[in-house]
Amino acid sequence: EADIYQTPRYLVIGTGKKITLECSQTMGHDKMYWYQQDPGMELHLIHYSYGVNSTEKGDLSSESTVSRIRTEHFPLTLESARPSHTSQYLCAVAGGSNEKLFFGSGTQLSVL
């Protein structure tokens, strides 16, 4: 099992602020993902990474960036937060040839 840590758990910020959502994992898996999910709704892939220095854009990536400098760390940055960014952000990890996704507890972001 992959242990996945997302911080903060909840975040309330004002419009225009720059924020970074943290995600870290302790099992050394290569593949990491960021999803956005509104309550009770579908998951949208924002970014994903296959390993160090590898990042790919998903379906909703235009307003955020990620980095993968270390295997265990995959932070997501919003350069200028807007109310439309209010949502839950889920980090996930996958490893092995037939891997399944393991999800973190998520960060609930509210932009005022």
Partner: protein
């Protein structure tokens, strides 16, 4: 285009009755298929997966899913539903094509409501 679809927004079933949650897919090559469940205010949890082998896959909490290649479906089933099975269920496919290797796509989700 590769995709996964869950045609039902919500499924209502009485406790003790069979539960089926539908999922269809469209992918290139052999699909890797998954089911996840999300309970209220909790993260997504893995239920089961199909990679290869038997078309009937057994997973957690008494759930199973049947892979049907001709119908491109991967329906989730439980013979006797419990009230505690009420949750949001997601079908997912892992892409295996060169340009999307390792990318997971989720269906829109199906809300399951089990009444006593």
């Amino acid at each position: 285009a590769q995709s996964v679809a869950q045609p039902e927004d919500q499924v209502n079933v009485a406790e003790g009755n069979p539960l089926t949650v539908k999922c269809t897919y469209s992918v290139s090559g052999n699909p890797y298929l998954f089911w996840y469940v999300q309970y209220p205010n909790r993260g997504l949890q893995f239920l089961l997966k199909y990679i290869t082998g038997d078309n009937l896959v057994k997973g957690s909490y008494g759930f199973e899913a049947e892979f049907n290649k001709s119908q491109t479906s991967f329906h989730l089933k439980k013979p006797s539903a419990l009230v505690s099975d009420s949750a949001l269920y997601f079908c997912a496919v892992r892409f295996m094509t060169t340009d999307s290797w390792g990318k997971f796509q989720f269906g829109a989700g199906t809300q399951v409501v089990v009444t006593p």
